[in-house]
Symmetry: C2
């Protein structure tokens, strides 16, 4: 892996508090790789061998059952994914594939597990990271169970705007069909949901969303920090940003 990646990784919540010695040893065991778009990195059910760190690109975490498939999360740099499976030494519950060309660093799960046993600071960081992941999935499940598709789309748009500093306009970060799946609906329904939100202050131009009436959108979205929020991350707000 590149030497210049190390400071970036070191900034991550998960790695910033551990000893330099342990960090360096972990990085020595790691290796980086660049993958083309649409490559399946991980297949659900397989044993978890590596913790993945996104350095560049975009990765989709998804799951399948029978002939159906659903997007569980979209991961952007710089952040880690598939941590829990590594810790449990258990099969991946989700598959992963690149959405675009991506550079990813992989750390052997074995080294990871060994490290948090001998570095208490790393153990605490892992605990905090996992607790965040857990809360993030709980929010996802709450949104699915408590809101209908129109409300989920509205809440998504409202949140993206908030993250961009209450911007009146922003560009969707990924394909619409991927977003639709993440939000638990078909592409057709996503399309219709946005169209129906025209009457509530949302316009769309290609991949750009324009909010024409923030109050109106807010009324539909019903934003709630216990669903749409993300836990404050100690230190580097930009470092871990899995929210798409």
């Amino acid at each position: 892996m590149r030497e210049e990646d190390k400071p970036e990784i070191r900034k991550l919540l998960l790695f910033r508090d551990m000893s330099t010695e342990n960090f360096d040893r972990l990085m020595q065991a790691a290796y980086a790789q660049t993958f083309p778009a649409q490559l399946e990195l991980i297949r659900q059910g397989e044993p978890a061998d590596f913790l993945h760190i996104m350095m560049e690109g975009t990765v989709e975490l998804f799951s399948g059952w029978r002939d159906r498939e659903t997007t569980m999360a979209v991961v952007r740099p710089v952040s880690t994914f598939i941590l829990a499976a590594c810790i449990k030494d258990a099969p991946y519950l989700m598959s992963a594939r690149t959405v675009e060309k991506s550079r990813i660093i992989m750390i052997p799960a074995k080294d990871l597990r060994a490290t948090f046993r001998l570095d208490p600071e790393f153990a605490v960081s892992t605990i905090t990271e996992l607790a965040s992941c857990y809360r993030s999935v709980v929010r996802h499940a709450k949104s699915l169970k408590l809101r209908n598709s129109r409300e989920r789309v509205a809440a998504y748009i409202y949140r993206q705007s908030s993250l961009a500093g209450n911007a009146a306009s922003f560009v969707l970060p990924v394909e619409k069909r991927l977003l639709a799946s993440l939000l638990g609906m078909t592409p057709e329904n996503f399309s219709r949901a946005i169209k129906s939100l025209q009457s509530d202050g949302v316009a769309m131009d290609g991949m750009r969303i324009i909010i024409t009436n923030m109050k109106s959108l807010e009324a539909v979205a019903g934003p709630d920090t216990l669903i749409d929020g993300s836990d404050p991350l100690s230190g580097f707000p930009a470092a871990t940003a899995p929210s798409i």
Copy 2:
């Protein structure tokens, strides 16, 4: 708290590996309380002050948004709940209420956080516990997104039977309307789903489910260890059993 509770708690995955000294100190800070049925123990949004340990009874974890409410999990002894919020020192994402009279031990979150900073074994146990919780919610979300309501009910019944040693019959552990909410549907739809499963080997007599054709049920349920499974818990299989 009762002295005889301590060995029970000590058997929990979360507490079995820590030093006796730290365990005893944690237990000293804890206190037990018995609550009547239908009492709200925790309200979502409030600061997380205590880790809860179920000793007797049943507790429902649920969430609300606007005027809607949904069951997120049902907790049975002996197990803990609301761990992640305590760790993050963040607001609870879920509310909790007793389903029946319950005895619960509460450990101040502050002591918990202090303890895993000074007891590496406890830190590792916390990591494993959280990873399990995370994977459990991921499964829940997968089931909601990949299956329709009939399939979720079938999978639930199939799994309960498996847990009872492939029993051809078992009694539902909680009220049907609670189960319905947990499985992401209305009580009416739950009722209809079971009725429609009659043609696939499921009969019902009050709270008792009778499986008349296991193969047929399995075909509908499509059981999948990556959705319906639970991670093996090191040591005490009966100790932590949040699966309802």
